[in-house]
């Protein structure tokens, strides 16, 4: 017996909707209000934003010089018309679009780019580390031309620029209090060029945005007039709101079966493949998993079919796809040549017999993050497999705060922990450097503690090599090297599924494959959506 929400709706005594339709006559050609939710908090200051909710705000309120193109590939200009790179790769000159207006009505010029960069590096928060140490300086050449100087060639530089948002220098200087570079002002207002401007912002409750009619790239006719991005809504609340037509797009964090129920009752789902993945991260410095054969044994003992079962939302939508390695499908370095690991207990036992540990030494703890309840299923699936081949596996949950403290030292980092990592930029460097380079060790992203000269050399080469084809080869070799080393069990590429009200049209979400990765929440471009009034 499955509950069909469609039938339930008929039973509903929908008093309010009767009232509403009688009060408001059918309106003119303009979008209505779009309501969506995310996990708190929402950060509205482009020099502080890093989370996904922040990304949604940034994508709509601010613009960067460059952006990820539709369908993936190297970045293309956004506020920059085009650019020139010097032969040694250390000087990049940008020609800026003219006639672009900020929300205040001010014109966008090279001064704003310089100010934005100085502000970002002055506050030293948010995405500033992407440029820290690499960029020597920035200077204005003329009103619509700026030049970046790098200390040495840095291949991910152009991709990093997608996280460099341009603010309105005149407005911020006018609203500065106690030399705060407009921080107080930006905590409740916006000063960008984006298609939407912020009308109200409470980081713990909601952000309201309104259409910026002078947006230089244009806005779809039926794009929402107003957007309300709400934070931390409970799953049944979202379910009820969508059923009552009071909410439009859910977050990815709704339980799979709730998304299925929403789809069942006549609304729809949108699947977006992101640049990143879910990993069982193995601490490669602690016994017994410091032996590669022990890790390989676990990889073959993991029941991938059960795992995939937990991802299945409906018959044709799964919130995951099998991963071949750390680099997800669609990113530079992904290669079909790397075979998928299959569930094979014979092979698993075979590897375990080659492992230098046995019997009582085979104690492992599998940790999952308390805030992400669906990880529990995966931990239990791995536990079941590990116990079958002879491991003594226990499952434990850790709250995020404790976990992120434990991973700062190899001896306190869990044997195995379940984490999702999303790329910081559309470049593979923005995903894997933080996970595997020995210089990046000691964070939740690098809970493997890979301290390997060969890996480090590959990652360094990937950064300083400018030739695009050579980089592809470097990252393909890297992918194979990591798969051989097995510092992770690869659960899935990062796939997100959103439940949407049927009346909403959001091609960027629904046909996400055409729009590339949602690294910068690009799929949440409100100006390309259609919301009936």
């Amino acid at each position: 017996m499955k509950f069909s929400g469609g039938k339930m709706r008929i039973f509903k005594i929908n008093l309010l909707s009767l009232l509403v339709t009688s009060l408001f006559s059918l309106s003119l050609m303009a979008g209505g209000t779009l309501r969506l939710d995310e996990v708190a908090i929402g950060e509205a200051d482009p020099a502080k934003a890093t989370d996904f909710a922040d990304g949604i705000i940034m994508e709509n309120v601010y613009d960067a010089l460059v952006t990820e193109p539709q369908g993936g590939g190297p970045v293309v200009g956004k506020l920059a018309k085009d650019w020139e790179v010097s032969n040694d790769g250390t000087t990049i000159t940008f020609h800026l679009h003219e006639g672009v207006k900020f929300h205040s009505g001010n014109d966008f010029t090279a001064d704003d780019v310089v100010y934005s960069y100085e502000r970002l590096m002055g506050l030293k928060l948010g995405w500033s580390y992407l440029f820290d140490g690499w960029v020597k300086g920035i200077k204005k050449i003329d009103s619509h031309k700026v030049q970046f100087d790098l200390n040495e060639p840095y291949a991910p530089f152009m991709s990093s620029l997608v996280r460099f948002y341009i603010v309105d220098s005149a407005t911020l200087k006018a609203n500065e209090t106690d030399g705060d570079m407009g921080q107080a002002y930006l905590s409740a207002n916006s000063a960008g060029t984006g298609a939407y401007s912020i009308t109200a912002h409470d980081p713990n409750v909601e952000t309201r945005m309104a259409k910026h009619n002078k947006y230089f790239l244009g806005i779809a006719e039926m794009a929402p007039n107003e957007v309300i991005l709400k934070y931390n809504l409970d799953a049944p609340t979202v379910r009820t709101l969508i059923a009552n037509d009071e909410h439009d797009i859910s977050s990815n964090w709704l339980p799979t079966d709730v998304k299925a129920a929403i789809a069942d009752s006549g609304d729809k789902l949108a699947k977006v493949v992101s640049a990143g993945g879910w990993y069982f991260k193995i601490n490669t410095t602690r016994a017994p998993l410091d032996d590669v054969n022990c890790r390989k044994a676990l990889a073959y003992a993991l029941d991938y079919d059960s795992l995939v079962g937990t991802f299945q939302v409906t018959d044709d939508i799964a919130a995951g796809q099998k991963a071949r390695g750390p680099i997800p499908q669609g990113m530079i370095g992904y290669s079909e040549d790397v075979p998928l690991v299959e569930y094979n207990l014979d092979k698993a036992r075979d590897y375990l017999s080659k492992c230098k540990y046995s019997g009582g030494d085979l104690d492992v703890t599998i940790n999952w993050i308390a805030e992400v309840p669906f990880e529990e299923s995966w931990a239990l699936i791995l536990q079941q497999g590990a116990m079958t081949i002879g491991y003594n596996a226990t499952v434990e949950t850790l709250p995020w705060a404790v976990f992120s403290e434990n991973v700062t030292k190899p001896e306190t980092t869990p044997n195995i922990s379940i984490v999702a990592v999303q790329a910081q930029t559309p470049d593979p460097d923005g995903l894997i450097y933080n996970m595997y380079h020995s210089a990046a060790a000691g964070t939740w992203q690098s809970a493997e503690w890979v301290q390997d000269d060969k890996i480090d050399a590959m990652l360094n080469a990937g950064r300083t090599t400018i030739d695009a084809q050579k980089r592809v080869e470097i990252y393909e070799d890297f992918q194979q090297a990591i798969v051989d080393m097995q510092p992770d069990l690869f659960i899935s590429d990062l796939v997100t599924v959103y439940a949407m009200r049927d009346e909403i049209k959001a091609p960027t979400l629904e046909n996400s494959a055409e729009y590339g990765f949602s690294t910068m929440a690009q799929n949440f471009s409100f100006r390309l959506m259609e919301v009936p009034n």
């Binding site: 339930m8 039973f11 509903k12 005594i13 929908n14 008093l15 309010l16 209000t33 309501r35 708190a40 908090i41 950060e43 200051d45 502080k48 890093t50 989370d51 030293k124 928060l125 500033s128 580390y129 820290d132 905590s187 409470d202 980081p203 713990n204 409750v205 309300i228 709400k230 931390n232 809504l233 409970d234 049944p236 609340t237 379910r239 009820t240 709101l241 059923a243 009552n244 009071e246 805030e371 709250p399 995020w400 705060a401 404790v402 992120s404 403290e405 910081q424 933080n434 990046a440 964070t443 939740w444 992203q445």
Partner: protein
């Protein structure tokens, strides 16, 4: 006493593991960025120096910056506290208006069926966790019946009245925006009900036992002998003495609601201080944890003080002895 609470919370908040600066800046922040931020938050100073900065801040009305919202905690608190206050005042109203009469009925008709029914109702209130009530109420009234809204303080198109007290219902009445009042009432009723049900049960049980005690007293028998009608006996002779001990506990209940509020605030997306406090704990947001706990404790103390004053007013014995 508030100083004691502040020290206790201050110490607890600082031995929670996890580096607040790192939590705030994200995993990829460089060590240099973290150190700079730690300095800004005075985290590298010894604990008594940190406490001194905190006390100094309080006297200047500055509670420090929240690493969670990256705003000043004073701003956060003044935004979120009125929402919670409105919620618990409303819940307390329900508690008193329903719980006390229920208790009086039960006490008056002790061991009769009306007593047992009322006891069962109040017990159900007491024994069901408020988060269970919250979820059930929402499903019934918002999902199946669809007659009440589920989230927030106002509908999305309703503009909150300009702030006077921060309590939307009161502000909108003062400003004469009665449509806003009605909208706000619709939004508050479910969360307030969920919050009040457990306290309501307690209130009615308490009233019952105090009323029973009073009815056993001789002067009630006397009044009956004089032929006063039951209503007069109940209102004039039984209620007042029974209310004095009840009131003391109701005061405690009222303050305790603040502690329970976050379960309900979470379910109904109520933008209150309790929800903010829980987030603060999860993010190890030291200034916010300390501030919210202090506010809750202060609220506790003030409520008790008011209750004491009211009891003194009602009870001539205490008033005359000049307590």
């Amino acid at each position: 006493m508030l100083i004691g609470v502040s020290i206790l919370i201050f110490i607890i908040a600082r031995i929670i593991p996890g580096d607040p600066a790192r939590m705030a800046l994200g995993p990829t922040a460089t060590q240099e960025m973290v150190e700079q931020y730690r300095d800004k938050l005075h985290l590298n100073d010894p604990i008594h120096v940190q406490y001194w900065f905190f006390i100094k801040g309080i006297t200047q009305g500055d509670l420090g910056e929240s690493v969670y919202t990256k705003r000043n905690v004073t701003t956060d608190v003044s935004t979120y506290f009125p929402a919670t206050l409105e919620l618990i005042i409303f819940a307390a109203l329900i508690m008193v208006c329903v719980g006390v009469p229920l208790g009086i009925l039960a006490g008056r008709y002790k061991d009769k069926s009306i007593d047992n029914i009322s006891r069962l109702i109040s017990l159900l209130g007491v024994v069901t966790p408020s988060f269970v009530w919250a979820v059930f109420l929402m499903i019934i009234f918002a999902f199946y019946l669809d007659i009440l809204p589920v989230a927030g303080r106002l509908s999305q198109d309703t503009v909150a009245p300009d702030k006077i007290t921060g309590l939307i219902i009161i502000d909108s009445i003062i400003r004469g925006q009665f449509d806003v009042t009605i909208d706000a009432l619709k939004h508050i009723i479910l969360p307030a009900l969920a919050l009040s049900l457990s306290a309501l049960g307690q209130a009615s049980r308490l009233t019952r036992s105090n009323i029973t005690e009073v009815y056993d007293k001789q002067y009630i028998e006397m009044a009956r002998a004089y032929g006063y009608n039951e209503f007069k006996i109940a209102t004039k002779y039984a209620l007042k003495p029974a209310m004095i001990p009840t009131l003391t506990i109701l005061g405690l209940d009222f303050a305790a609601m603040l502690g329970n509020a976050f379960l309900v605030e979470f379910v109904f997306a109520w933008p209150g201080i309790a929800k903010y406090g829980v987030q603060a704990i999860l993010y190890k947001d030291l200034n916010a944890i300390t501030a919210t706990t202090m506010i809750i404790a202060t609220f506790f103390v003030i409520t008790n003080l008011i209750v004491d004053l009211v009891v003194a007013y009602l009870n001539p014995k205490i008033r005359l002895s000049g307590k």
